[in-house]
């Protein structure tokens, strides 16, 4: 980690897995190093780093990792409304890292690759539905 302490990284790893639990072929964030990506993002933005460090310190209060899962979730819900500045950034950067991972984008039904250079095949569509529009004729107003 370039920015986060070991303790904060451990707490964050626990949190991101609660935000996006693993399901089927979709991995937990901790399995695809979401916290490492968040750490990279924080390293370029001092203001963001401060929000995270203060937010994690606040949410932890020395005991987050030792709480039962149900209490961890309750605490997160509490912070979602009481510390919106931190929580919104936490969600954004967790989603940023998770939904740009090829394992995840493949798991949601895409190809797991970026849009270029392959692109996609697109159906032309049913242009016969325009027949009624054409039959109605001109709708532009001639001045």
């Amino acid at each position: 980690m370039r920015t986060l302490s070991k303790n904060n990284a451990d707490i964050l790893d626990e949190i991101v897995d609660l935000l996006i639990p693993a399901k089927g072929n979709l991995p937990s964030p901790s399995k695809i190093n979401v916290v490492g990506h968040i750490d990279d993002a924080l390293s370029n933005t001092p203001k963001l780093k401060r929000i995270f460090v203060e937010g994690l310190s606040d949410i932890n209060n020395g005991k987050f990792l030792s709480l039962p899962k149900i209490e961890q979730i309750a605490l997160l819900k509490k912070y979602e409304s009481s510390n919106e500045a931190f929580f919104s950034q936490l969600l954004r950067h967790t989603y940023n890292a998770y939904y740009t991972n090829p394992i995840v984008t493949a798991g949601i039904g895409m190809t797991g690759r970026p849009p270029q250079p392959m692109g996609y095949t697109l159906e032309k569509g049913n242009l016969t539905l325009l027949d009624k529009v054409i039959k109605k004729g001109q709708i532009w107003r001639n001045p």
Partner: protein, 535 residues
């Protein structure tokens, strides 16, 4: 000042949509033309993010359309705290066509005659049919995908390539229009769907707003500029214009600019042409105040910067049960509807609006949409939404109002110390009623097509793509800034060719009309060039 270049016939400021078209026309006519561009070239093969897995994150950062968020060195900040709509733009060769969605509708004939037809605002001093040959020429130069026969327009010249595919999503929403018997038509799009003019067809990758790495999208860096340079036009990049100077006769003399090293340079020209968009152009004019023009250059009417018009947007999103493969295809390019475009006296607002049908959100945008909760149900809800939404952008015709304006902020500057603009804008009651009507009818289409859930944003903030009206065209020198040829009333060798000169704005994307106007003005200048070049 050092290293100043020789005087040119025509100096263009801004290398975006209008500046590129105009410069090409000047070069083709044999004029010695130079263009100063604040930004630099982007290399489509290496500078766009769509070949990287983190492409969606670039929308939040270095490729965000809002210069205040992007905060690149080439941008200038804009004070938009007194506007519910944020002005958006891009500074590079190609200007905002780099990140635009490539919608390419024309204004309609009635848009040029709103005073005569509806007794609002003013008529333009020229008509749709005056511009028609220039629309056609511009379409040929840019390459337009579309389908001839749209009943919402007079006949157009043949489209260069077939329309962008509707996909499952387009078929779905077209069924709604069909059942209601309302107008819809595949969008005219400045994008190749098959190879045209040496550029390939679109491969339907999706995010046109992040730049097109295969050059299928017709940004002017890949359409007009290569041709203009081949004809001898000169393009100076990283040239940040501070002001336009005038000589002792009150004629435009030169542009003072900072070069890439931060050195101040002066470029003299017989004719100076502003193509810096509806915010950048009034900024330069107001920053060019002098003892002869104390209120800003070409501003004897007091209208430079006034009558700022955006196209206000409401967003209506429908959620459908089936997978519509909504990530496939150019995201914003699908269908346009003109069903409610023209004035209807039975409604409580004047003029009208259009819909643009937008494909589904990409994965990250879906997760961040505010509709997908974190926690146990995250994946289930995500799956129900991803690829299953259709969005209508309801685009309304804003009307000119004197209090909506661009001024110079007393404190804010860019990184070179050039004063920055401030935007003051209020949405009018007419526009609000218009958009509310649009939300209602868009909801009706969504329901008819089978949407399970419909949500809306009454006024999208990050939607100030179209910047218009701030140096209005007209015949009365007291009530306009330029004449029908873009020539300023006050300084006869100073022209404006961007969206600033729009009298009114219709309810469609303006780029096609901006470029047609630029070509029309270019023709006029060429015909009159003897007068200027002998002075």
């Amino acid at each position: 000042m050092s290293g100043d270049k020789k005087k040119v016939d025509v100096l263009v400021i801004g290398a975006g949509a209008s500046g590129a078209a105009f410069t090409w026309k000047m070069a083709k006519s044999g004029m010695k033309v130079m263009c100063l561009e604040q930004g630099d070239w982007l290399n489509p093969s290496t500078d766009y993010s769509t070949s990287s897995t983190d492409w969606e994150i670039h929308r939040q950062t270095d490729f965000n359309p809002n210069p205040n968020i992007r905060s690149l060195d080439v941008d200038y900040p804009i004070n938009d705290t007194e506007s519910p709509i944020a002005p958006l733009m891009y500074n590079a060769v190609g200007g905002s066509t780099i990140h635009w969605s490539a919608h390419f509708p024309r204004l309609k004939p009635s848009d040029f005659r709103v005073k005569t037809l509806d007794n609002v605002a003013d008529d333009w001093p020229l008509s749709y049919f005056d511009l028609e040959p220039y629309f056609a020429l511009n379409d040929e130069m840019m390459g337009v995908a579309g389908l001839n026969g749209d009943t919402a327009y007079p006949p157009k010249s043949p489209r260069q390539t077939p329309p962008v595919g509707l996909g499952k999503l387009g078929d779905k929403i077209a069924s709604g229009f069909d059942k209601l018997d309302w107008h819809w038509w595949p969008s005219d799009s400045a994008i190749n769907t098959i190879e045209y003019d040496g550029r390939p067809g679109c491969n339907n990758c999706g995010p046109c707003d992040l730049g097109c790495s295969i050059k299928a999208k017709s940004s002017t860096d890949v359409t007009y500029w290569p041709k203009a340079l081949k004809l001898g036009a000169e393009l100076i990049t990283n040239a940040r214009v501070r002001e336009i100077t005038v000589d002792r006769f009150g004629k435009a003399k030169s542009a003072i600019y900072y070069d890439s090293n931060g050195e101040v340079r002066e470029q003299n020209a017989s004719i100076i042409v502003l193509a810096s968009n509806g915010v950048g152009t009034p900024r330069i004019l107001l920053n060019s105040a002098s003892s002869r023009f104390p209120d800003g250059l070409a501003n004897s009417s007091g209208l430079v910067g006034k009558n700022l018009m955006f196209h206000p947007y409401s967003i209506v999103t429908g959620l459908f049960e089936e997978d519509l493969e909504g990530h496939k295809g150019p995201t914003p390019l699908n269908i346009m509807s003109s069903e409610f475009y023209e004035t209807d006296p039975t409604r409580d607002f004047m003029r009208g609006y259009a819909y643009q049908v937008v494909r589904s959100l990409a994965p990250l945008a879906t997760a961040l949409s505010g509709h997908v909760p974190w926690g146990e149900n995250h994946h289930e809800i995500f799956k129900k939404r991803f690829n299953r939404t259709i969005t209508f952008a309801v685009i309304g015709e804003d009307l000119p109002e004197i209090h909506n304006k661009v001024t110079i902020d007393p404190e804010l500057t860019d990184s070179f110390g050039i004063p920055s603009p401030k935007i003051e804008y209020r949405l009018s009651e007419n526009s609000r009623k218009m958009l509310d009507h649009g939300i209602g009818t868009a909801t009706q289409v969504m329901k008819t097509a089978g949407a399970l859930e419909i949500t809306h944003d009454p006024l999208k903030r990050e939607a100030g793509w179209h910047l218009m009206g701030t140096a209005k065209m007209g015949t009365n020198e007291d009530k306009s800034v330029v004449n029908k040829y873009g020539q300023t009333h006050d300084v006869d060798n100073l022209y404006i060719i961007d969206g600033s000169i729009f009298v009114t704005v219709g309810a469609v994307n303006p780029t096609s009309t901006i470029q047609a106007l630029a070509l029309y003005i270019a023709d006029h200048i060429v015909s009159k060039s003897g007068e200027f070049l002998t002075q």
